[in-house]
């Protein structure tokens, strides 16, 4: 515990910012405090015209937005609407007209989006107060506050991270975080085909979660089955690809292997064919009348075709094998780049000290590989938990042995999620499954990630 505290102290010291928000509130003068109401005022007073004006414009834009639409969106988010579309007899035109009913989905979306806008506004607001306080301090110390040109220059040097991160972060916010929050919130509604809540739905709290976890209901049984298979699949798929791919890369990379480029190209070729093409092809090859069964029947004593896709166990094995075929070229590509990046002097030193190839592998190559590709291993593990394509295209989740259930024997949580949302339209259950998939991955990978060398000691090989 004391160690943790010490570490925390060190951390805060490392990035200590004398112009932080709490200091600004405590020690700010009248203009800095007024900047809380009129953003940018402090900067304007101290001669940072462009900066001050931009803060002011942001504030004005936010206020206008909230008055025009934002406020209503937030209110809608609370109740999600309830106004059904109804027919009204229009006496003048002598026709039935439809009133504009509420669309809970759009209300939810706009509400969540408004929340995002508000959060980013709060961040700008804090930045404005801090920047005003900084200008105040500079003035008090007798220095001139940074001019606009100096600010821009620092964005390409000391603050380069802000420049480089802005656009990627915006992209992530709009296309990853916003949709995720939107979908997660669906888990707490009754948005589902059940009782026809497809246009109008409402908040139901945690009602959906017990349904998924119970051992008795059909959904619960499917959930536990799919969860088990997802974990088994992820372990096998990840490690088979990693180990075999690394062996292949090392074998090709050996000093005595001729035609390195040629071999790499050959293995790359299979990666160049779009995955869904090769997967669909593999599916037809393993069919009852597929080429593999045909050949087996013709050239061995086998009389009946092997039901690769109708037997749960066989289907699972075939999927893992096909996945090795799909994945190895990618691992090889990945590993080759890193292998060639191992400083050559490490090997030379080992050679001088008389280390053999096996020792070199375990003492230099493997630690280095694990150091660099540790995060890659974790991402490929999580990628496999989410590996939609392989399952969906090969077996489609089948075979379905229990007809009352919505999932088949090779369904991963994600493919089941897809079926639930696209085919069955049980959006709320699908969202719960999505959250559970996340929980599984979070538990697995946060534990392992914090143990990898490249997290603990990032500069080990620099």
């Amino acid at each position: 515990m004391p160690k943790l505290k010490a570490e925390k102290k060190r951390k805060t010291k490392e990035f200590y910012d004398p112009y932080c928000f709490s200091n600004a509130v405590k020690k700010g003068d009248i203009f800095t405090r007024l900047s809380m109401l009129v953003m940018g005022l402090g900067n304007l007073v101290r001669g940072q015209i462009v900066k001050g004006l931009s803060f002011l414009v942001i504030e004005a834009a936010y206020i206008v937005f909230m008055i025009m639409t934002g406020g209503k969106c937030l209110v809608d988010l609370l109740h999600l609407g309830g106004q059904q579309q109804i027919e009204v007899w229009n006496e003048a035109k002598q026709v039935y007209e439809y009133t504009q009913g509420d669309n809970s989905l759009l209300m939810l979306l706009f509400g969540v989006a408004t929340l995002f806008v508000t959060i980013s506004f709060v961040m700008f607001w804090r930045a404005a107060v801090k920047s005003s306080y900084k200008a105040q301090c500079m003035k008090a110390a007798g220095k001139k506050p940074d001019s606009f040109i100096q600010d821009i220059k620092s964005l390409f040097d000391k603050n380069l991270h802000r420049t480089l991160l802005t656009l990627p972060t915006l992209g992530v916010l709009a296309f990853t975080i916003l949709p995720l929050v939107f979908m997660i919130s669906m888990a707490f509604t009754n948005y589902s085909k059940i009782d026809s809540h497809l246009t109008i739905f409402n908040w139901v709290g945690f009602e959906n979660f017990p349904k998924v976890f119970s051992f008795n209901s059909s959904i619960g049984k499917s959930f536990w089955g799919a969860l088990g298979w997802t974990l088994i699949w992820a372990v096998f798929a990840t490690f088979s690809n990693y180990i075999l791919g690394m062996i292949l890369a090392i074998v090709i990379n050996r000093k005595n292997t001729r035609g390195k480029g040629f071999w790499r190209t050959i293995f790359m070729l299979s990666a160049a064919v779009p995955q869904f093409v090769s997967l669909l092809l593999m599916r037809t090859m393993f069919n009852r009348e597929g080429i593999i069964n045909t050949l087996l029947q013709r050239y061995t004593s086998l009389s009946e075709p092997i039901p690769f896709w109708d037997n749960a166990m066989l289907a699972r094995i075939v999927i893992i094998v096909v996945n090795i075929w799909i994945g190895i070229p990618f691992t090889m590509l990945q590993v080759t780049g890193v292998l060639q990046n191992i400083p050559a002097d490490l090997y030379e030193a080992a050679k001088v000290d008389g280390a053999g190839p096996v020792k070199t592998f375990f003492k230099i190559t493997l630690p280095y590989m694990l150091f660099v590709t540790g995060p890659y291993l974790i991402t490929s593990f999580t990628g496999n938990i989410n590996n939609f394509n392989v399952i969906f295209l090969l077996s489609g989740g089948g075979p379905v042995t229990d007809l009352s259930s919505t999932s088949g024997k090779t369904d991963l949580l994600v493919t089941w999620l897809y079926k639930l949302s696209v085919d069955q339209q049980y959006y709320n259950i699908a969202a719960v499954i999505g959250i559970m998939t996340f929980v599984v991955m979070a538990v697995v990978s946060l534990i392992t990630y914090h143990r990898t060398g490249s997290y603990k000691n990032e500069e080990g090989f620099q």
């Binding site: 420049t163 990627p168 092809l281 060639q340 990046n341 050559a344 939609f388 990630y449 500069e459």
Partner: protein, 311 residues
């Protein structure tokens, strides 16, 4: 003493031969399905009969050599280019392949430029700069990567719809944004690579008076060709390979289909019989640019950056 060294030499030679044979066998397994697709793409008969997989000329000569092995196969196919012709000239039919090809090319060029920029910037920052939000950002990125992509698919569609990007030509913009928008999160591999570039190179540049931006563009980027090529390649390929997102966003707008949606639809029940050979031809055609890219990439995998720091 001499005896041992020749023995070791022979042992080495045997391993070497063994390694090459093993590689050859593996290479054959990996290439087989590709050969299959290429064969099908030149097939003249329609339908899914794959028993006659070899060209007729080859089959007849094989039959002459081993009569009993090929006893119940009567004839192979006559190789033809008709499938390719149909694919590229038949623009009136259900599948307008040239249009799909152009769509996908536009989308993948733009999205690979944007994502390469995103990924490289984020990974450089995470590898070389130290600031307060760094660890939180990395953790958030890791956490976000753990949510299934399909969970947000429907949400992404509604977001794009609400800003009017799901109608007409804007569908292309929508797809570019979908493929490149969140790409900043995939920085781990490139960061791992940047971490292995010695820091002393950067420091040498700082001493010479370079700003961080200059170090990034003039030192780090030129040293990182393999990882840049990898990043570009990955993002260039995404639009050719993805069919789910493209299907959800294009819906019934046939003129904006990407290649993969088109090929996927060729395997629908009502088209599969007459279009399977064209499907194979299409698969061959879209594999060609990707193969060329892979070839280009080969030469970047030579020496890496080791040896950049002397003594």
């Amino acid at each position: 003493m001499k005896k041992i060294s020749t023995g070791a030499k022979i042992g080495k030679k045997t391993t070497n031969v063994f390694v090459h044979i093993l590689l050859a066998v593996l290479a054959f397994i990996w290439v087989l399905p590709i050969l299959f697709i290429i064969m099908v793409s030149f097939k003249s008969d329609q339908g899914l009969q794959i028993r006659t997989l070899l060209p007729d000329a080859w089959l007849q000569s094989a039959k002459a050599a081993h009569p009993d092995m090929f006893a119940n196969v009567t004839r192979g196919f006559i190789p033809t280019l008709d499938n390719y012709k149909k694919l590229f000239t038949d623009t009136t039919n259900v599948f307008n392949f040239p249009q799909m090809f152009v769509n996908t090319l536009i989308i993948s060029i733009f999205s690979c430029i944007i994502s390469a920029f995103f990924v490289l910037s984020v990974s450089y920052v995470m590898s070389r700069m130290r600031f307060k939000m760094r660890k939180p950002f990395m953790n958030v990125a890791l956490i976000l990567g753990m949510f299934p992509g399909f969970m947000s698919m429907i949400a992404v569609y509604y977001i794009l719809k609400s800003i009017g990007l799901t109608e007409g030509a804007m569908i292309r913009v929508a797809l570019i944004m979908v493929y490149s928008g969140g790409s900043g999160l995939g920085f781990y591999i490139a960061k791992g690579f940047f971490d292995t570039i010695p820091k002393s190179i950067d420091e040498a540049a700082y001493i010479d008076g370079a700003t961080r931006w200059q170090v990034f563009t003039k030192v780090t980027i030129p040293l990182s060709k393999p990882i840049i090529v990898y990043t570009v390649l990955q993002s260039f390929m995404a639009p050719w390979l993805d069919f789910i997102f493209a299907k959800v966003i294009c819906r019934a707008n046939k003129e904006y289909y990407t290649v993969s949606v088109g090929l996927w639809n060729m395997l629908e029940k009502e088209y599969i019989y007459s279009w399977f050979n064209c499907f194979a031809a299409g698969a061959v055609v879209i594999s060609i640019p990707i193969i060329i890219l892979f070839m280009v990439m080969q030469k970047f995998y030579r020496e890496g950056v080791s040896g950049a720091v002397k003594g």
